[in-house]
């Protein structure tokens, strides 16, 4: 992953690079569209789907309004259950807490199931520097980890990898026979490789899908069972979560678990939905509550509802831009539309390009199981970024000029006439490599008169002009 301190190319540049292999873009797009279609079919099996979305959205709304109380309730319940609760204001502090727990356990090898929060905090890099080896146990995450890459999708971490490439990767790292790219075979090889890690790791880190204030339990959803195997074979369970993962009551899970997997992959539910309430006898359990900018976002009216996100990835699968630019073009742990509204809150300068990596088509908002107004927030972020001076000079100069013309009807008429004359007379002015429109598209044909001119000629006699 590009380290947070280094400059990086913007989304448009990275997307352009991704688009140099058009066949691969087609493959990427179709794979994700297939998942979007599975999501549609799953949603359509439930006539009450839209009611579920509305209910989920309202529950999360209530959580955000009263997060303070719910956090205290959750902490008290978790402690009563024998769980140690930690609070981390920043990513750095989160990493330190996790490191300290691992040190206390006296181990240097640990397993971790999927957690976007630890990606956000760059936990693996941090622990690696401290001499601790983290093995990601979700198959997709293990694949990108072996490749030295961040996940490109929050639910489908290696959706950008072809099976032949994975075969080659496994050949190099796991010693599988060269040229074998059979998913069944490769999964079997990973199973054997990771089973050994599960059997020997005494610390297991998991993410958290939902944390119930009423009961102090945390719920972790996987298809592979990797979170469960890790936790049930370890002496120490560390569950890392953003503070917004709280839900008020256990029964709310009945809503969220109906929505989560259907939205994510079109499955009726994930294979495992495990509710960790107390540690096993002889085991210790830690929950790390992480802020890292969330409380600040909670105070911004336009953006607080982004905290409703349950990380299903549906907005990525449906996003026509994500499907054709790939997760890595977003240069942030969470890609796609939701990433584009979460990232700038953490670092406006670094992520100023992301809210512009969208056509504002609105499909993301429609698939969101908690009804986050993603496309409206993208629009709002653009306003904030432009006002704060994070939108490029050329765009600004051009649009300032445009605004001046459009505010003055007479100037508008004049420049329209002049503009069309130029387009007609000197097409080379526009039809060159510097014009990004013209690179792969023809310019519109220039009519001999504008509608205003036509109207003056043809309708003025009706006296309809003011």
């Amino acid at each position: 992953m590009v380290s947070p301190s280094q400059p990086h190319p913007d989304h448009a540049t990275l997307a352009e690079k991704f688009n140099r292999d058009e066949a691969r873009v087609d493959w990427h797009d179709k794979t994700l569209w297939f998942i979007r279609e599975k999501r549609d079919r799953a949603a359509h099996t439930l006539p009450e789907w839209e009611d579920l979305r509305e209910t989920a959205s309202q529950i999360k709304h209530r959580v955000l309004d009263n997060l303070h109380d719910y956090l205290l309730q959750f902490e008290a319940q978790a402690q009563r259950n024998g769980v140690t609760v930690h609070w981390a204001a920043t990513a750095e502090e989160h990493n330190q807490i996790v490191h300290r727990i691992i040190q206390q356990a006296g181990v240097t090898n640990i397993v971790k199931s999927k957690s976007m929060l630890t990606e956000e905090c760059h936990l693996n890099d941090y622990l690696q520097e401290k001499g601790i080896t983290v093995v990601d146990t979700d198959l997709g995450e293990r694949i990108v980890q072996l490749a030295g890459e961040p996940p490109s999708h929050i639910v489908l971490p290696c959706i950008h990898w072809k099976k032949e490439e994975i075969g080659e990767l496994f050949h190099r790292h796991l010693g599988t026979p060269a040229g074998n790219a059979d998913p069944q075979f490769l999964t079997g090889a990973a199973r054997a490789h990771l089973r050994e890690r599960f059997m020997t790791s005494r610390v297991a880190i998991t993410g958290v899908n939902f944390a119930v204030a009423e009961t102090g339990e945390v719920v972790v959803c996987t298809n592979e069972g990797n979170a469960d195997l890790g936790v049930q074979l370890a002496d120490v369970h560390i569950a890392c979560m953003g503070i917004e993962k709280i839900i008020p009551e256990r029964k709310d899970l009945g809503i969220f678990l109906r929505l989560l997997a259907r939205s994510a992959t079109g499955q009726p539910v994930t294979t495992y939905s495990s509710h960790f309430r107390t540690p096993r006898a002889g085991q210790t359990m830690h929950i790390v509550l992480v802020d890292n900018g969330r409380s600040a976002r909670l105070q911004e009216e336009s953006f607080r509802h982004a905290l409703k996100c349950i990380r299903c990835g549906a907005c990525m699968n449906t996003c026509p831009v994500y499907r054709r630019s790939g997760g890595h073009s977003y240069h942030y742990a969470i890609a796609g539309p939701i990433g584009a509204i979460l990232a700038p809150a953490l670092d406006m300068k670094r992520h100023a390009d992301l809210p512009f990596a969208s056509t504002l088509c609105g499909s993301c908002t429609n698939v969101c199981p908690v009804k986050i107004n993603i496309h409206e927030q993208l629009y709002d972020w653009r306003q904030v970024l432009a006002r704060q001076g994070y939108v490029g000079g050329v765009k600004k100069i051009g649009l300032t000029g445009m605004a001046a013309v459009l505010a003055r009807p007479r100037l508008y008429r004049w420049s329209g006439t002049v503009g069309r004359w130029f387009m007609k007379s000197l097409p080379a002015l526009l039809n060159n490599k510097l014009n990004p429109w013209y690179k792969q598209r023809e310019m519109p044909a220039v009519p001999k008169q504008s509608f205003q001119e036509w109207y003056r000629q043809n309708r003025q006699q009706h006296g309809q002009q003011r």
Binding site: A12, S358, G362, Q383, A386, F451
Partner: protein, 244 residues
């Protein structure tokens, strides 16, 4: 019923025939149409790029032009949505609010206000309907494929009244074409790829024309079609409704 015609700036400059068709379709339905001559633009180009605050002059001009009529009708879902969602003028907020309520996209005006039941138009061709996102998801001109809700299509309803027109079914009913305002040049690679895929879907269904409620999307698709020397053409829905 007095209707003021709002012609988006790029339609005025590049596609006058679409504005003429809009005017004539409305007149055929017995609607009195005026054209406020000092109009320019809805301000969306600035706002979608983050410079909503630069659109003040443009917005004031819009309010001055359109304060005095029953309805404002425009052949663009995108510009109409922008007006409805974002037209604000500090010194004339009441007028702006009233304009936001009274502004309609052409098709929804015909189906919802005029309540058109018959048309005298003929367009004997295979046509694909590109649902422009702002009209569809913003103005709800048709049901959205993401939602679990009964299907409808205001544009489809009108096209169904056109003699000889054969509407094709697309593989992806409401995928974005990739125009996206300044997105089309700022994210040129993805924009063009989206457009090519949209064109390919229509091609696969054997459409001779791509129609839609927004000329901006169609301009983008037309640019791609012409570069590919494709025989397929774009035509605004107003032109079809006005065709005979």
């Amino acid at each position: 019923m007095k209707v003021a015609l709002f012609v988006p700036c790029y339609v005025d400059q590049f596609y006058p025939q679409v504005a003429i068709a809009t005017l004539e379709v409305l007149e055929k339905q017995g609607v009195t149409v005026v054209y406020p001559a000092r109009q320019t633009c809805c301000g969306q180009p600035m706002a979608n790029s983050g410079f909503e605050h630069l659109a003040t002059g443009c917005n004031e001009n819009f309010v001055e032009n359109f304060a005095d009529c029953d309805y404002i009708v425009s052949p663009s879902g995108s510009c109409v949505l922008h007006i409805k969602d974002h037209l604000h003028v500090e010194s004339a907020e009441e007028k702006a609010a009233s304009i936001r309520r009274r502004t309609y996209e052409l098709v929804e005006f015909l189906t919802d206000i005029v309540q058109v039941k018959t048309l005298t138009s003929r367009f004997p061709h295979r046509v694909g309907l590109h649902q422009s996102c702002h009209g569809q998801r913003g103005l709800k001109l048709s049901q959205m494929s993401e939602l679990v809700a009964p299907p409808f299509s205001k544009t489809g309803q009108l096209l169904g009244l056109v003699e000889g027109l054969e509407l094709v079914q697309l593989n992806r009913a409401d995928e974005c074409c990739g125009f996206g305002g300044t997105f089309c040049v700022a994210e040129e690679a993805v924009s063009v790829k989206m457009g090519k895929d949209r064109v390919a879907d229509h091609e696969a269904q054997g459409a001779a024309f791509i129609t839609g409620n927004d000329m901006s999307c169609l301009m983008h698709l037309e640019g791609i079609l012409r570069r590919q020397n494709s025989p397929m053409k774009v035509v605004h829905v107003a032109e079809i409704l006005n065709a005979w």
